[in-house]
Amino acid sequence: MTDRPTKLVVDCSLPEGHPDKVQIIPLTDAEIAEREAQAAQAAIEQAEREAAEAEKQANKESAKSKLEALGLSEDEINALIG
């Protein structure tokens, strides 16, 4: 047994029931390296998305505070920026 990751390959040119239609193939070293690179990229992009969302929320809170300081009610502020 090996814990090497596998890929499920479906050959669309073959008819259903053909013995080679679906194959389970261990990933090559190059494919594993590519997968790890994609995982790293995914983590970076997830962090960027979360940071952007956090910045957006912080800006919204800051804008609300400034509008409150100007004397707007909460209903008026929500009407403006939601």
Partner: protein, 173 residues
């Protein structure tokens, strides 16, 4: 009326799989549709990537998203769809439909994606996305890859070929 033809269907077996690859896709249909339902073995990254022709470059996506608490929108340099993480309610699977018009043509390829993770709790993602693969080559293979861990057993993927109707339009009947 158009015709939907199952090109291939597969279900992940015991032990899971890192990738699902549909290879040698016939070039005889008008459009492609991928229907995908999955769960993954880790709690991180509730998404899988879709790589046309097994290529990871020249991809982009604009998306609108809700997670049960707030709404978000953004862009990503990958084409992606949902994958229910392992910390979601047991035995729940994501659902996705990916429409790829004119996949065999010689223009850039678009991907319309409607997807949800599933969870019997507050946090679950629902997302609509417009993906673009800025390559004019016909799509001859589609790879679904979960980089964070394996795609779990009982996840499934079905690839349909859509043949346009005599009116020239595509209508689901």
């Amino acid at each position: 009326m158009s015709a939907w033809t199952v090109i291939a269907h597969t279900e992940v077996g015991s032990g899971g799989a890192a990738n699902i690859l549909f290879s040698s896709i016939p070039q005889t249909y008008t459009d492609l549709v991928l229907v995908f339902s999955s769960r993954q073995e880790t709690a991180t990254g509730a998404s899988v990537f879709i790589n046309p022709n097994q290529l990871t470059t020249n991809q982009s996506t604009r998306y609108l998203e809700g997670d049960g608490a707030s709404a978000a929108s953004g862009t990503l340099s990958r084409i992606f769809t949902a994958d229910t993480p392992s910390n979601a309610t047991a035995n729940t699977f994501s659902n996705s439909i990916v429409y790829m018009p004119n996949y065999a043509g010689s223009t850039n390829k678009s991907f319309s994606i409607d997807t949800v993770t599933e969870n019997n709790a507050t946090t679950a993602y629902q997302r609509i996305s417009a993906g673009l693969w800025s390559v004019s080559t016909a799509i001859s293979s589609l790879e679904i890859i979960q980089p964070s861990g394996d795609i779990n057993q009982y996840s499934s993927a079905t690839l349909y070929g859509i043949t346009k109707g005599s009116s020239g339009g595509v209508t689901v009947s």
